[in-house]
């Protein structure tokens, strides 16, 4: 019972964080006009970034560490929501919405379906001797510092970001002009995926 309460509290906290981030970063400056502080500069944006990064990475760690695959799915949900909110902070509104629609609405449902349809719900990771938690920790310790050091020390020629602007129209233009060929190829890939997933997942039809 308490576990269920904790789960509900965590879920509602996630939703509230997301709504606050969207409201504060995307909507409030648009309504206040020029009087608003530049997004990405104020202390609130920094706090929002740290909170959302914590949600994203905490969810990811939960995916990596939880024994039960169903808890892993919930962690993945938190991580994807946090990443979507980070896109909002990065002034990528269209990508954030697509992340919500495709990942949270589509991929997560697929994953949960797969978890429920295969009856080995409890994770078998406990007695994984060959490459278990220790190996995973070793891999993390070996790789994460390298990547973080590259991110921190490399001389990125970063410019100060401009004001936040809606990107949907520009993305639409770009998709139909410069990236037209990849766009069409992506539609073919999706068609092949649709057919292929049905062919793979259906039950075997007996040849006569």
């Amino acid at each position: 019972m308490t576990r269920r309460l904790v789960a509900w509290a965590a879920a509602s906290l996630l939703v509230v964080l997301f709504v606050i981030a969207v409201a504060a970063v995307a909507i409030a400056p648009a309504m206040d006009g020029a009087a608003a502080p530049r997004p990405g500069q104020g202390g609130f944006a920094a706090g929002a970034f740290y909170a959302l990064a914590a949600v994203t990475l905490g969810g990811a760690a939960f995916v990596a560490l939880a024994r039960n695959i169903l808890y892993s799915a919930v962690g993945l949900l938190a991580s994807l929501l946090g990443a979507g909110a980070l896109y909002v902070l990065l002034s990528a509104d269209f990508v954030a919405i697509v992340q919500l629609l495709v990942y949270v609405g589509g991929v997560m449902v697929l994953v949960l379906f797969a978890v429920m349809l295969t009856n080995k719900i409890t994770e078998v990771n406990v007695s994984n001797r060959s490459f278990g938690l220790f190996g995973g920790l070793l891999l993390f310790v070996a790789m994460a510092p390298v990547l973080v050091a590259v991110a921190l020390l490399a001389p990125w020629r970063a410019r100060p970001p401009g004001p936040m602007e809606p990107t949907t129209a520009a993305i639409g233009d770009a998709l139909l002009t410069r990236w037209l060929l990849p766009f069409e190829v992506a539609s073919l890939v999706l068609l092949a995926t649709l057919v292929g997933a049905v062919v793979i997942a259906r039950k075997e039809l007996k040849a006569d």
Binding site: A53, V63, V111, P161, A174, K203
Partner: protein, 102 residues
């Protein structure tokens, strides 16, 4: 306290590392697919962050959109394969999926 490009790159790097750990330690095939999703999300955070702190156009956004499309396709086919595997061998433990070896 200004949030710079490096902050987002660190988030992306840690997402990638955690996803790789998930992929390599899980024995449940669905868990492996979740790790792949984490890896792709780490890459996406980097794309969008570089676009924001780079020339500020939409190239990175478009690339992130294509990554999302391919991730959705990968999830659909991957989970179909998991279901087919479960139908054949009654288990989705990736270490028991060695039908082709014998």
């Amino acid at each position: 306290m200004t949030i710079t490009l490096a902050h987002y790159l660190v988030v992306g790097a840690l997402l990638f590392a955690l996803g790789l750990v998930t992929v390599s330690t899980r024995r449940n095939a669905v868990g492996v697919l979740m790790g792949v999703e984490l890896i792709l999300n780490g890459a996406n955070v980097n794309f969008v962050a570089f676009e924001r702190f780079g020339n500020g156009l939409v190239g990175g956004h478009v690339f992130a959109l294509f990554v999302i499309v391919l991730a959705a396709a990968e999830a659909a086919v991957g989970l179909a394969i998991v279901l087919a595997l479960f139908q054949t061998s009654k288990s989705i433990d990736v270490r028991q999926a060695d039908l082709l070896r014998e």
